[in-house]
Every structure is written in structure tokens, then in C-alpha cells.
């Protein structure tokens, strides 16, 4: 089909001065390819070396930018006119390098090294990038770790071993048997002990010359700013979105670099959010995912060695920031895939509309992060309208009531533990399996701890099921209070 291409003035010299060129084509892509075949000189001006149209080249069909149609596949009909329309852009060369290391406040007094420290850190001291000067920087530095779990374990162990002078750790949990598969700072004899106590003992053993400060509290919007002010760098080893946004915002507000890491199953991420020089976590993820969409490690699992790798990367970035050596992960997101054993980095940009670090930032104080992430206040177990305690369920079963027990966990969890006569329909399959259930039945949904089954309940109720309950605390609570022969996990 013959179509016209309008040529803008800067390109006319390549087509013999013509204002328009006629080509045979059925799509925009074909029309442009025919044009550059006929006028080869045009190619390098229209297309970059990657074979894509240059960013400042716009293509219109009649009055529509093809970006809003089907791009190169936009079909052409008779009398359609294709126009090549310039955008113009330019500017000055930036003097500042893109990934500058954030400037740390210089310590009030550089602390000299003792003979003992010189012996201990000799492998650092003989490297020109560290040396006596770098080791003194490490000794004079302070780092706050959020969480003494999977990421916090290698982070704190390596930072203590490296001689970071003051290490703060925030945590309020106790060591559970299920932590030991990855949280290598804690040992079997620590089960039931506060994580901070166990971590402090282990770190003292690793390096008694560094100061460990423990903050046994939940990090909140009320205490974060004051806590962060006391340290040079914050390293985020949290496992949930509300705390991650809280750490990010508090770091932006206190101007502390945020050395970020996160893990899930076989995949990890790391970056350095230092917002004077680069983007923050909100530039990357302006909004949290809908509550419950992204499972936590407790729900989805995590390869035990993964936090070892990602936490070590965070420790390395912390040390680089303190030394002021190398190129930090500022403006870059490192993606690690343990199954493929591959690392990739994505470039991150500072979002000019970022609500916390942008020039027109609307967030100037910390907010309610649970609400921001769409998490409702935890319903006390058994107190919700549809909640059923394990004892109540046992009573119903003992009375011979006709119940459908709906297990919404994954098949591999079914292998670990199960309740007799339950039907397994994993949560992800439930929307497609509603036809297998009857609204006439009384249904008790359960999962590992009661979180996923609450979502199942919501779905069932929205689909017209009325006689539905959620087993509070899930199969683990059932195992604890009713049937000790069922293993907890």
C-alpha cells in the first residue's frame, strides 16, 4: 500500500531535499525500514546502535504518536500519513560522577589502634585501600543493624570481625528452632533466648574489641529518628514491608545511607539508598505491594544460604562506604538468583516526584507504615467474628458436626503436617476451585499460622459462602494445643 512519510527539515538533505517520500508498506515499522533502505544515511540518525528508534525521534500516524498506538506494528491504511517528528533535548555535562560515595561525617576524633588491634587487623592493614587510615575509619564508625535475623547474622559477624567500632542492633524476637537454618549467629543452645542476647555473646566472641549496643524494641515511627541519629550508617535486614518503608523514610529524614538487602526463596536484592547522591527505596517502589500479595519468608520459605550471600554483600557495601573506597551500589539494584547463580544490576534513577526524597517531598515526618502497607491491626486470635480456636474446632469435630476442613497451604507443607480429613486447595488455586465447594457446607479454612486462610475466608465470603470460619493460629496452633503428634514448622 503506498503511504507518505513526511520528512522534517533536518533530515531532508538525506532524501534529496524532499519534504515527503512515498513508500510501499502495511505497518509503520515496514515504512521506516523501507525508508532507511532507500536512504541509508538516515539510519544512524533515526536508530541507535541498539537498533531502537532514538529517544528524540517520534513517529506519528496522522495526528497520533505511535507510542500510544501499536508502535512499529501500527497498521497503515490508504491515505495515512507517517510523520517523523523531532523532540529536542540537550544540556550541560554534569560535573558530578553518577555514583558518588555518600560523604560520612568525619569522626570527631580518630581513634588510634592498639598493638592488639594491629595484630588482629593485619590483613587489612597491609592493603593500600584500607591501611592504618582505613582501619582507623572503621574503628571510628558506627553502624545500626535493623534485625538480628538472616541478613543481620552475616552483617553483624563480618562488621564486628572487620573492626567497626560501634555496632547497634535492633530486634525484639527470641530465637526459634526454625531460625537456625539461616540465622547463623544463633546456635541450638540459644533457642528460646532473646536474639539480642545470643547475638551479643557471639559477637563478643568474634571480636571483644568492638562495642555492641543492643536495642531490644520494635522499630517504630516513634523511636526510629532518635535511634538513627546515633549512627553513621543504617543496614536494613528486615523481612517486612512496613519496616522497610519505615527504615527508608527515617534514613532519608536523618540523611543516613541505607544499605538495603532483601531475600525470598532463591532470590536476593541489594542496593545502597543514599539520597543526597542517589535514589531511595521509594524511588524504586513508590507503593508497597497489596497486603498479602508478596509472601514473607515465613510463608514462602527461603534458601538458608541466601541471606548469607546477600547479608555479606551488605556488609561489604557498609565497609566500602566507611572506607570511601570503590563504587557503592548507589543508583544500582543488584539482583541475585541462586538457582541460575547469576548477578545482574539494574540502574535506578532518583524519582523527581518521590514523596520522601524528591524536591517537592510531601513526607516530612514518619507515618503509620502498617496502614500505608494496607495491614490491618492484628485481630487477637479467636476474637474475630469468623475466627475459630483449635479447641473450638476440636469440640465441633468431637460432637460429630459436619464440617469441611479446607487446607489452603502448599503441597510441600501438606507433606510436613496435616489434619485428618482435610481437603488441600492451595490459596493460589482457590479462586478456580470454588466450584468444588458448596455454599451449603460449613467450612473451616486453615493454613500454617492463620494468615493465608484469612485471605481464603475473605475470598469465600465475597463469593457467597456464609458458613465459613478461620482456624486461629493455623495448623501450628492446632499442633500446640490439640494434637501434639502433628509437627510444628
Amino acid at each position: 500500500m503506498p503511504v507518505k512519510i513526511l520528512i522534517p527539515t533536518p533530515l531532508r538533505s538525506f532524501v534529496g531535499g524532499a519534504r515527503e517520500v512515498e513508500v510501499e508498506a502495511h505497518t509503520v515499522g515496514e515504512a521506516l525500514q523501507t525508508l532507511i533502505r532507500r536512504h541509508a544515511q538516515l539510519k544512524k540518525h533515526l536508530y541507535g546502535e541498539d537498533g531502537k528508534l532514538r529517544s528524540f525521534v517520534n513517529v506519528y500516524v496522522n495526528d497520533e504518536d505511535v507510542r500510544y498506538l501499536s508502535q512499529a506494528d501500527t497498521p497503515l491504511g490508504e491515505r495515512d500519513v507517517v510523520s517523523i517528528v523531532p523532540s529536542v533535548a540537550g544540556g550541560v555535562d554534569s560535573a558530578a560522577p553518577k555514583a558518588a560515595a555518600p560523604a560520612l561525617p568525619s569522626p570527631a576524633s580518630a581513634l588510634p589502634l592498639s598493638a592488639e588491634e594491629i595484630r588482629r587487623y593485619s590483613r587489612h592493614l597491609i592493603m593500600p585501600e584500607v591501611g592504618m587510615k582505613g582501619q582507623v575509619k572503621l574503628k571510628s564508625a558506627s553502624v545500626l543493624l535493623i534485625g538480628a535475623g538472616g541478613l543481620g547474622s552475616p552483617l553483624s559477624l563480618y562488621l564486628a570481625a572487620a573492626g567497626v567500632g560501634r555496632i547497634g542492633i535492633v530486634d525484639f524476637d527470641v530465637v526459634d528452632e526454625s531460625n537456625l537454618q539461616r540465622q547463623i549467629i544463633h546456635g541450638t543452645s540459644d533457642v528460646g533466648r532473646p536474639k539480642l542476647e545470643s547475638a551479643r555473646a557471639r559477637l563478643r566472641e568474634v571480636n571483644p574489641l568492638v562495642q555492641i549496643e543492643t536495642h531490644e524494641t520494635r522499630l517504630t515511627s516513634e523511636n526510629a529518628i532518635e535511634l538513627f541519629h546515633g549512627y553513621d550508617i543504617v543496614a536494613d535486614g528486615t523481612d517486612n514491608f512496613p519496616t522497610r518503608y519505615l527504615v527508608n523514610d527515617a534514613c532519608v529524614l536523618t540523611r543516613k545511607p541505607n544499605v538495603y538487602g532483601s531475600i525470598f526463596r532463591f532470590e536476593g536484592q541489594a542496593s545502597v539508598f543514599a539520597t543526597r547522591e542517589g535514589p531511595c527505596y521509594r524511588c524504586l517502589y513508590p507503593e508497597p505491594p497489596p497486603a498479602g500479595l508478596v509472601p514473607s519468608c515465613a510463608e514462602g520459605g527461603v534458601l538458608g544460604v541466601l541471606p548469607g550471600i546477600v547479608g555479606s554483600i551488605q556488609a561489604c557495601e557498609v565497609i566500602k562506604l566507611i572506607l570511601g573506597e570503590g563504587t557503592p551500589l548507589v543508583g544500582r539494584l543488584l539482583l541475585f538468583d541462586a538457582l541460575a547463580m547469576s548477578f545482574r544490576t539494574l540502574k535506578l534513577r532518583k524519582d523527581p516526584n518521590c514523596p520522601v526524597c524528591g524536591p517537592k517531598a510531601a513526607i516530612r515526618t514518619l507515618i503509620d507504615y502498617e496502614a500505608f502497607c494496607g495491614i490491618e491491626p492484628e485481630v487477637a486470635q479467636g476474637s474475630g467474628e469468623f475466627e475459630l480456636s483449635p479447641a473450638e474446632l476440636k469440640g465441633k469435630l468431637d460432637r460429630g458436626e459436619d464440617l469441611v476442613l479446607l487446607d489452603v497451604r502448599e503441597p510441600q507443607e501438606w507433606e510436613i503436617s496435616r489434619i485428618a480429613n482435610a481437603r488441600l486447595i492451595p490459596l493460589g488455586r482457590l479462586p478456580y476451585a470454588l466450584g468444588e465447594l458448596s455454599t451449603a457446607d460449613e467450612i473451616v479454612a486453615f493454613c500454617r499460622s492463620g494468615v493465608r486462610s484469612r485471605k481464603a475466608l475473605q475470598l469465600l465470603r465475597e463469593s457467597g459462602f456464609r458458613k465459613v470460619h478461620n482456624l486461629s493460629g493455623g495448623i501450628n496452633a492446632w499442633a500446640e494445643t490439640v494434637d501434639p503428634s502433628v509437627p510444628r514448622y
Binding site: P8, T9, P10, L11, R12, S13, F14, G17, Q41, K44, H45, S55, F56, N58, Y60, D65, V85, P86, S87, V88, A89, G90, G91, V92, D93, S94, K350, P352, P359
Partner: protein, 140 residues
């Protein structure tokens, strides 16, 4: 060679000073003869629509261009070049300018130092896109 009347150049200098510390930009409208000589008669200022960092970047999209082009066409003229300012930077094209440049156009660059218009130079992209060649600027 590009010919720009003094009055037109003064308008561009005034616009550059007003936009400081941001960059200004616009279209040079006039005529070109076959020998590569251009004559500017008017300017059509663009709004700098760069989303951030207008202190060191300018951007005007296809709508602005189409507007300038049809305006020029109605007068029997053409867009023959683009002008922009470099706040607190020399009147020399940057690497970023080169990457985003169109061939044939004259790129007029105005240096604005501390809010006062300073040097003006003009450049044309080399056919290999690897550099800008300086262009003679005449102000009758």
C-alpha cells in the same frame, strides 16, 4: 554560516537570563539556501519540559516541535535550528547535546553566567554524529 539579526540574538540572550538558573530553549525560524547558509528571522521559544534538573537539561517534545513547524510553515519559513542556554557552563556543546542532536540543524548555545548572558556560539552535528563542528555566526 548562520545569520541572526542583532535584535533576535538579544531576545535569546534576554530569555536565557530570565530562565537562569534553568536552561531555556527554542526554535530558530528562517530560511536556508542550498549552499548550507541559514538566515534566522524569528524565534519560537519552547517551554523547558525536562522532568527534573532543568538547571542542566532541556527538553521539548514533539508537540512543541509540531507547533513551531506549522507556525513557521504558515509564514513560508522553516525551523532551521535550536537554541538553548548553558547556565554557569561554557557555550560549548556537551556530550549530552551531541547524543540528542539532529543533523543539519544549527545548535545555538548561549552561556549564562550568574544570571547574565555571556558568549553565544553555533554548531552543526557532523554527519558521522561523532562531533559538533563550529558554525560561523554573523549578526547583521
Amino acid at each position: 554560516m548562520i545569520r541572526i539579526p542583532k535584535g533576535v540574538l538579544e531576545e535569546i540572550r534576554a530569555q536565557g537570563a530570565r530562565a537562569y538558573p534553568e536552561e531555556c530553549c527554542g526554535a530558530l525560524i528562517g530560511q536556508a539556501n542550498g549552499g548550507g547558509e541559514k538566515s534566522v528571522l524569528l524565534t519560537r521559544p519552547f517551554e523547558n519540559r525536562h522532568p527534573d534538573g532543568r538547571e542542566r537539561r532541556y527538553f521539548a517534545g514533539p508537540d512543541a516541535y509540531r507547533d513551531a513547524e506549522s507556525w513557521a510553515r504558515n509564514l513560508g519559513l522553516d525551523v532551521v535550528g535550536i537554541y538553548h542556554s548553558h547556565p554557569d557552563h561554557p557555550a560549548r556543546p556537551s556530550e549530552y547535546d551531541r547524543e540528542h542532536a539532529w543533523p543539519w540543524y544549527s545548535y545555538l548555545i548561549l552561556s549564562v553566567e550568574g544570571g547574565t548572558a555571556a558568549d553565544v556560539t553555533s554548531w552543526v552535528l557532523a554527519s558521522e554524529r561523532d562531533r559538533f563542528d563550529p558554525e560561523e555566526l554573523e549578526c547583521p
